[in-house]
């Protein structure tokens, strides 16, 4: 009887080891994935609390753009939708089926509604960023693949013409992204001719900066309104000077 018990225990241990190795495989291979959400997604935190992970947006997408995150896609929230523009970008359907299908309004139609009609150009899925060192246009080679691919050509992505001092007779055709208009659809990233795209869509919160209220654009009408009711008291750290003297580095 003892031997039989030992064999049984052995079976159990081997089985559990197998299970453990699969857990390890699922978690250890996890690769961080950019949180590029479908159009009209709420702010990341709010999106995560709202998304029921049903995949109706994934099924609604006619281009198979969206994927649901699995255990191996770390950092996105398991089961929530995201897309990888270099594989399949968002093709910006006018009727935005993914948003219409969402049962919990984690994709909030209000965010892409203008004058009572859906407007995909209001989507803010991410923002495109150009790697100037590896963009062939910055080499002086004429490439406007991303510019031509942009659905909001000359608005979200425009070309800056610059004289090429090296040759003296050619122009640089430099792609410039305007983050006010860029929807982050990623068509530019897909179109990019370099081995690894030199124009990449990143989540907006990773890229977009924020200027303090103390900077006023004098040439923009009404921009000084933010100075109204502002706290004008000086906030000085009286000990700062003493600290400066007492610390080693002078």
């Amino acid at each position: 009887m003892q031997r039989r018990d030992a064999i049984k225990t052995g079976f159990s241990l081997v089985g559990l080891l197998a299970a453990g190795s699969f857990v390890y495989k699922e978690y250890a291979n996890a690769k961080p994935v950019l949180k590029l959400r479908p159009p009209a997604a709420l702010d990341e935190d709010e999106f995560l609390t709202r998304c029921i992970r049903c995949g109706l947006c994934v099924e609604a997408c006619p281009f198979d753009t969206l994927k649901l995150a699995e255990f191996k896609d770390s950092g996105v929230g398991i089961g929530t939708p995201f897309f990888t523009p270099r594989d399949i970008p968002c093709y910006m359907c006018e009727d935005i089926p993914c948003v219409v299908e969402c049962p919990t309004e984690a994709l909030d139609p209000k965010l892409v509604t203008k004058d009572g009609a859906l407007d995909i150009n209001m989507a803010r899925m991410g923002v495109a960023v150009v790697d100037e060192k590896n963009c062939v246009a910055y080499f002086g080679i004429q490439c406007d693949a991303c510019y031509r691919a942009c659905p909001l050509i000359d608005k979200a992505l425009w070309i800056d013409y610059k004289r090429n001092e090296r040759t003296g007779k050619h122009a640089f055709l430099l792609p410039i992204v305007d983050s006010d208009y860029c929807t982050g659809c990623g068509k530019c990233e897909l179109a990019c001719i370099t081995d690894k795209a030199a124009i990449t869509v990143l989540p907006r919160d990773m890229v977009i900066g924020k200027v303090g209220d103390n900077y006023v654009k004098g040439w923009v009408e009404g921009d000084d309104a933010k100075l109204k009711d502002v706290d004008t008291k000086m906030h000085l750290d009286s000990k700062k000077g003493i600290k400066y003297l007492n610390e080693d580095e002078l």
Binding site: K25, I52, E70, K72, A106
Partner: protein
């Protein structure tokens, strides 16, 4: 065997319809068990998932609320935990794990916990949802992960299936569905007043205990041989005991109807 076969047919049909909806765009059942769309019109949602989302954010889409109410009413009216044994695809895996366990004659549990643990986990998942503003169980749900893996045909479904089968076969008897699953706890609570119950007729019972051998939720059969009555709502309505009983002492019956007799 008829109930088991019927259950497998229902489980696989639902999964099949989800897969068909995803791959071929067939408009019968779309989405997955968290939230879905029936015939492209009726939205259905998992009420437990929605409860967590509500506690996390205090606002949920109206379409999903109606869908969740439909599900609650539906499952509250029919048999107890019918979701667990007739719909949930994890049930297929845990049954397979239990089958392996009996075939290898593994008797000892490595982990021993009370079957009430699932209620604590259920409460904990709601508390965590509220505190951390995230659907606590949904974000780690093996049910969701496995269903998504199957419906969207990803390889991770296989790993998850193997993990679940191994836990059920080697770690403890009926550990996941019978002891841990907070979704099962939720459905047990919802099913308190469901209409179709297993009824035990102790006049016919010969104390052979065959039902207790096959039952995945043994504690619900505590009245067997002692008194006639309905089985508790922790029963997953799988009908195994009905199949096992040779003496016609256990059978599905309609609660209201029998009371009037």
């Amino acid at each position: 065997m008829k109930f088991t076969i019927a259950r497998r047919v229902v489980q696989l049909t639902i999964l099949g319809l989800f897969i068909a909806g995803n791959i071929y765009g067939i408009n019968i059942l779309k989405g997955n068990l968290s939230s879905s769309e029936l015939f492209g019109m009726i939205g259905l949602s998992d009420p437990y998932a929605l409860l967590q989302l509500f506690l996390a954010g205090f606002s949920v889409g109206s379409a999903s609320v109606i869908g969740a109410l439909i599900m609650v009413v539906f499952y509250a009216l029919i048999a107890p935990r019918a979701f667990c044994s007739w719909v949930c695809p994890v049930n297929i895996l845990t049954d397979l794990g239990a089958y392996i366990r009996t075939k290898l004659k593994i008797g000892k549990n490595i982990i021993n916990i009370s079957s009430n643990s699932r209620y604590y986990l259920f409460a904990l998942s709601l508390i965590f949802s509220f505190i951390f503003s995230i659907a606590a169980f949904e974000s780690i749900s093996y049910i969701g992960a496995f269903t998504r893996g199957v419906v969207y045909l990803s390889g991770s479904a296989i790993s998850i299936a193997i993990i679940i089968i191994c836990i059920e076969a080697f770690l403890g008897k009926r550990l996941i569905c019978g002891h841990l699953c907070p979704l099962g706890a939720f459905w047990a609570l919802v099913s308190r007043f469901s209409l179709i119950r297993i009824y035990h007729n102790s006049k016919n019972c010969t104390h052979c205990n065959k039902c207790k051998v096959v039952c995945p939720e043994m504690q619900v059969l505590d009245i067997v041989g002692k008194q006639s009555g309905n089985i508790r709502s922790e029963c997953i309505s799988c009908g195994r005991c009905v199949e096992a009983c040779d003496d016609d002492a256990l059978n599905f019956s309609i609660l209201k109807f029998r009371r009037e007799q």
